[in-house]
Symmetry: C2
Subunit: 326 residues, 2 copies
C-alpha cells in the first residue's frame, strides 16, 4: 500500500479531493475555481481578519490531529470576527505544506474547517484558498463577517462605570498546553503522540480547549445587539488583552477576584482562550452566556484586581518560541 | 552596532515600525489595531483571492530584495482581482518569519507592498494583517476588489468566435527565472546575491518581470467594461492557463503563432507572467493595452497553435520544487 502525498498528486488532483469536503457559505456568490471568489456583503461593508498557524510556534504535529488544526485555524479567526459584533460569513484558506505530506492530512484539515464552521458559525463556509509547497506546514485563514447594519464594537469603546464581562472559557487552553508540555513529551522533551492521546483521554476538556477550542462565536453579535460598548477576543491572556482594551479606551479595567474562579492566575495569564471580553453600560442585563468579571474605572490603561495594579504579562510570538517543532 | 531582529523587539514594537509604512486604502472604514478591519463594499459584494509566497519554492533570499517580496506578493494578488474585472480595494497581509529576521526585512516588505499598490492599484491599501514566527519566511496576502455593479468576468465565459487577447508581458518572467538559475548561482548551484545583482544590471526587464512583476491590474476593469466574455490571470504559463479557460468554457483556444513573438515557447510555457488573458466578442475594438493572440473555436478544452494541438504543460507547486531555498 502506497501513501499518496502532495508530491505524488497534481495540484488539480489535490484540490478535487479537498473541495467536496469544504463547507459552503450562504454568502457565497462565486466559489472556488476562478481567479477569485465573490461574496455577498449585505450592508455594503465587510469585516475581515487574518491569522496564521505555523508548525513549531503554534502547534506540534505529535499533539494535534489534522482535524484539530483545521478546527483551530477556523475557530481563532471566527472569534476575531465575532469580537467586532459581526456574524461570520466566509473564510479563505491558504495552506503551505511539505511535498511529502500525505493527502489525508490536508483532507483532515478540510474536515476540521468544515466541522468548526458548522458548530460555531452555521452558514459560514470556505469560498477560496491557495495550496503551496513549504518546508513548514502553515495555515493562513482570512475570515469575513457581516455587521448587519450595526456599528462595529471596538476595543476603544469602554467607559468608566461599564460592567466588564466575559463569554467562553478562560484559563483552560493555557492549562491544557501546560499539561501537554508536562505529560505528553518523552524524557528528552520530544512531543509524543501516544502520550498526548493518554493526556487527552484523562483531561478531554483542557486538551480540547487548547487543540480545538470552541469560542462563543455566536455571542459576538448578541453582545452588539445588547449594547456592548467595547469588545475583544481574549487570545493572549485575559490580563494582557484587558490591558489592550484599557489602553485603547483610556480607562482602567478592575477585575473582581471573586469572579475569577479557583485559579485566578490561570484565568489571567493562560493565553489562547478565544473568549469574548466585552463591556456593557452599568445596569445592562447581560446576555445569556456572559458573566460579569468586574467594572471599568477612570484610568489610562491599567489592569487592576480588586483595585490593585496587576501584571499584564502574556504571550509574544517571537519571544515565546524556542524554535522547536515536533 | 547591533541588528534589531524580530526576537529582540516585541510584537507591538514591530507593528509600530510597520504600520506607518503601509498604504492606506480608500475603502478602509476601520484599519489595523482592532480584532478585525472593516472595508467598504459599495455594490453589496466583494471579490476575494488569497495567495502565499514561501521561501524555497517561491523565492530565493539571495535574489529577491525585501522590497521585491512585498511588491510581488501584492502584484500577484492584485492581478487575480483584476482578472475578475474588479478594481482592487484592499489587502490583508500575514507574514511568518524566523525570529532572527532583521526588522529591516519586514520594513522592506512593507515598502514593497506600498509601492506596488501605488503603482498598480492606486487607492488600494493594507487594512490588516498578522505577524507570526516560523522557520520559513512566508507571506500570505488576501486581496479584495469591487465589481462596481458589473458581473464578474469568469474563465467559463468564452464562446466560439470570440477573439482571445492578452494584456501585459508574456514569457519574460520565465526567461528571467531561467537566467537567475543559470547565471546567479555559484558553481555548486547556490543562489548568490552578488551574481544576481550583476544579472539584474545586465537584464533589468527580465529580472523585474520575475522578481517584481507589474501586471496590468487597471486593465481588468477596462476589459470588463469593454464586454470581455471570459478572463483569467496567466500565472502558470499561457498554454496551461489557456487550457483552463478552454475547459471551463467548453471551447478550444487557437493561438496564431504570428502573434506569439520571436520565442513562442517562452511565451507559451514561461510561467509567472501575471498577464491578463481575455476573450471578447468578434469585432470588439480591443481596449488599449490588449493585443489579439488568436480565436476561440468549438471544442472541449483544447489549446491549439495555428489549429494544431499544443502541449498544456506548466508549473505545479509540488512537483516543481526540489526542496532548495537559499
Amino acid at each position: 500500500m502506497t501513501t499518496e502525498t502532495l508530491a505524488s498528486l497534481s495540484e488539480g488532483d489535490v484540490l478535487s479531493r479537498i473541495f467536496p469536503r469544504l463547507p459552503a457559505a450562504s454568502a457565497q456568490l462565486l466559489g472556488p475555481g476562478d481567479d477569485a471568489a465573490v461574496v455577498a456583503a449585505g450592508d455594503g461593508r465587510f469585516v475581515v481578519t487574518t491569522d496564521m498557524m505555523v508548525h513549531g510556534p503554534d502547534f506540534r504535529l505529535a499533539w494535534s490531529t489534522p482535524h484539530d488544526l483545521g478546527w483551530k485555524a477556523a475557530a481563532t479567526n471566527l472569534s476575531d470576527v465575532a469580537a467586532m459584533g459581526a456574524v461570520p460569513t466566509a473564510l479563505v484558506v491558504a495552506i503551505a505544506a511539505p511535498p511529502h505530506t500525505p493527502i489525508e492530512m490536508i483532507e483532515g484539515i478540510a474536515d476540521g474547517l468544515r466541522d468548526c464552521c458548522a458548530a460555531l458559525a452555521p452558514g459560514c463556509g470556505v469560498v477560496g484558498g491557495d495550496l503551496s509547497a513549504s518546508a513548514t506546514l502553515t495555515l493562513a485563514v482570512t475570515a469575513f463577517g457581516d455587521l448587519q447594519g450595526r456599528a462595529p464594537v471596538l476595543r476603544s469603546g469602554a467607559r468608566a462605570g461599564d460592567t466588564i464581562a466575559a463569554a467562553g472559557v478562560l484559563g483552560e487552553a493555557g492549562r491544557g498546553l501546560a499539561l501537554l508540555f508536562r505529560q505528553a513529551v518523552t524524557n528528552d522533551g520530544t512531543p509524543d503522540a501516544g502520550l498526548a492521546e493518554a493526556v487527552r483521554a484523562a483531561q478531554p476538556g483542557l486538551i480540547a480547549a487548547q487543540l480545538a477550542p470552541s469560542p462563543p462565536v455566536g455571542l459576538g453579535a448578541v453582545a452588539a445587539r445588547a449594547g456592548a460598548t467595547g469588545m475583544l477576543d481574549v487570545s493572549d491572556g485575559l490580563a494582557i488583552d484587558a490591558g489592550r482594551l484599557a489602553r485603547a479606551s483610556g480607562v482602567a479595567v478592575d477585575f473582581d477576584s471573586g469572579q475569577l474562579g479557583d485559579d485566578p492566575d490561570a484565568v489571567l495569564h493562560g493565553g489562547e482562550d478565544h473568549a469574548l471580553l466585552a463591556t456593557f453600560p452599568a445596569g445592562t442585563a447581560l446576555p445569556d452566556g456572559f458573566r460579569a468579571l468586574g467594572v471599568i474605572r477612570d484610568g489610562a490603561g491599567q489592569v487592576l484586581v480588586d483595585g490593585q495594579p496587576h501584571d499584564q504579562r502574556g504571550w509574544d510570538p517571537y519571544r515565546g518560541w524556542d524554535g522547536a517543532a515536533g
